[in-house]
Symmetry: C2
Amino acid sequence: MAKEITSREENYSQWYNDIVKKAGLADSSAVRGCMVIKPYGFAIWEKIKDQLDKMFKETGHVNAYFPIFIPKSLFEAEEKNAEGFAKECAIVTHYRLKADPEHKGKLMVDPDAKLEEELIVRPTSEAIIWNTYRDWIQSYRDLPILINQWANVVRWEMRTRPFLRTAEFLWQEGHTAHSTSQEAIAEARQMHDIYAEFAEKFMAMPVIKGFKTENERFAGADDTFTIEALMQDGKALQAGTSHFLGQNFAKAFDVTFSNDKNENEYVWATSWGVSTRLIGGLIMTHSDDEGLVLPPLLAPIQVVIVPIPKPDAELTQKAEEISKALKSLGISVKIDMDETKRPGFKFADYEMKGVPVRLGLGKRDLENNTIEVARRDTKEKTTIPLDNVVSHVEQLLVDIQENLLNRAKKFREDHFTKVDNFEEFKTVLETKGGFLSCHWDGTSETEEKIKEETKATIRCIPLDSEEENGVCVYSGKPSTRRVIFAKAY
Amino acid sequence: MAKEITSREENYSQWYNDIVKKAGLADSSAVRGCMVIKPYGFAIWEKIKDQLDKMFKETGHVNAYFPIFIPKSLFEAEEKNAEGFAKECAIVTHYRLKADPEHKGKLMVDPDAKLEEELIVRPTSEAIIWNTYRDWIQSYRDLPILINQWANVVRWEMRTRPFLRTAEFLWQEGHTAHSTSQEAIAEARQMHDIYAEFAEKFMAMPVIKGFKTENERFAGADDTFTIEALMQDGKALQAGTSHFLGQNFAKAFDVTFSNDKNENEYVWATSWGVSTRLIGGLIMTHSDDEGLVLPPLLAPIQVVIVPIPKPDAELTQKAEEISKALKSLGISVKIDMDETKRPGFKFADYEMKGVPVRLGLGKRDLENNTIEVARRDTKEKTTIPLDNVVSHVEQLLVDIQENLLNRAKKFREDHFTKVDNFEEFKTVLETKGGFLSCHWDGTSETEEKIKEETKATIRCIPLDSEEENGVCVYSGKPSTRRVIFAKAY
């Protein structure tokens, strides 16, 4: 069958690429490392975006838009940030093409149109935004500024994978300005909480909440809060980060305010972002060898109705009745009216696309006043009285959402291992993978050595970890709390 | 008073810039020709976007996302399109910065990281999209493709103005593929109709619907449909265009399909777009010397409640009651709880921001069970019984929307002049401006001469113009229908 995909066991990475391709989520493009987000993939992103945007606005944030280009002199102003991103910057150097005199019909870069100062295509927008905030902030009355931006960014990555790591990606980036350190930290933690809530409640993807070690922090941050999810192959996915930026950008861009005692102070900052990478997380948290599995709250089509063997007047009328009743509950429904494809083909196609609930409406069912309900997550099929279909489906969508979260939680529990020595560390990492909870001596040196030897990194220091005396798995030096290691995307 | 702006009569262009600045719509940036869209301006764009997106989806379109970069070899494939945009292209030539050995802490473009092929920052996406469609289209069963994209684009314009003409702007671009010429033309005209409907119904901005002369067509189009609005200074604004692209892009990118007779044919195309320029149109259609005037259907805040002289427990409770009742009708309401500013200041500020309805809720009003209602469009104030406020405001928002459209229609009628000779043409253009309806001999030569002598261009050949014998205002040659000239933004 044309739609078949590589199994996870055979080759997880190929399975992932097959899902992206065959569920119609994304396609490669003529530009190195850039993908085309296809309509079905983009519809998932729209769901993600709408929900997050609502949560941001409910917490007092507003949207704005800043230029995609950053003049080099601004880009380099916050040195750590600049250093962190310098190696992956796309750079605009010219502003005009002209006819190529040696190749008829071809164009060439016009050497006379060289920019005086190069422009960096934003890999992140702190520099251009803080350069603007300087003009917007004079007094404590101008604070806080709570701005978010939905935008595209470019990071010239050498090894790319659809959604997980692409040269251009879509994201949101919040950039807030505050009069006190405490308020900025509270903001960074609030957004961290919102990301975790979104991941669990809407994506059905459990996450560990923690903060990053100095090594793994965002370039230019004083503290990075992260949500870390676990993929089915035992690797971690950093799914969202929220940064307390201290006064680093305020100092680099000279952004000060006069406080209520009329003294001048530097402004405190946060930034926070999630991206189209979340779609990669969705895929690798829930999907199976038949294709994509989507949590109902983010599924572009929640219910598909397939008339069997094909649409006719009676089946269509009934399907429309059901569809109307479901839609009135806010459920998105598609009736498949295509007469050129057989039900078996359609079933496989909607499984591939991860539609949570499929209703098979057959002639004989109609006579018996029944309907077949198939759920995508467990692939169970049941035949129920037609009269109950609306309330049944409504409840089923809730159950599927819950089941996906519970299943993912169970998987994570099964792949969360306390390890207390380095042999165990390596064995668990190689055999079972997942999150390793262990003591670490707190030095970058040890962190880097473990990374070199095992490819595992410290995903985070969990916020809920308790004080506990122990010794570092690698150096044997004393430690007072466990951290989380894993191999990561 | 700090908020005062230049009057329209004194200097229309400065008035426009003052509104943009003082209503908090946009700000200049460190990047030549690029603006920062501030939260209030962006909230208007979100309103525009949400409504258009709904109208696109209702007509069967879906959203997707294509890369921001176009390899030069693809960009130049459709020669007319490439030639049309070549002079305003931002070009990425390198993908890495490195530490500048001669300037500590500074970065420089790494000469070793030169791209083999330059990348154009999209000025429009036909090239990258049609290069992708080649892989998506084999048979007539794959057609039509009805895709829209919300994106940023870059056109390196030499003279820029906020919203009207900026180096980077936000827009939507629809790109559709069809199996017949008729279907593609019908699509282009459908989207043209949707733009006109949106302009009149939501923006309260009447438009003339027509098509462009060959000179004024989109580069690469066989036909360009346009909506042309009239600004208060008598200049026209091209507010949206929809293009029938024929098979030009299909031929350039070799996109063919096998029809139902199993013959290979080139695919037919359309593209259509509107941009943040619409916000410039909104400003120049409705606003006055006190600031922005917004049609209620696109106003981020439709009603503001100002407690007078300042918020106290009783006033706040009443304001919240009114707000809740209005919100339940889908009306957006802000209660101004700021205690540091006086009512007079607030009134001027909301006038500047164009909030359609202001409710002044005073202590004495409350005793008398009345409330003061001020409408932004006419600046009328009335005192009404408090018990009627919700239904009154609901109706008032409808009235304001209607009044703005009628006022704009009246203005356009007053500035639509039939002229029959070139003297009259020049006189009307200089004294009163607006749209000039006149005969033209159909040649590009005449069109260009008129432009050179008067700066007026043919805005469109109206779709509803009737056959009428006449002579060209410039050349005296015979003509069978009138066209619309104007100076334009």
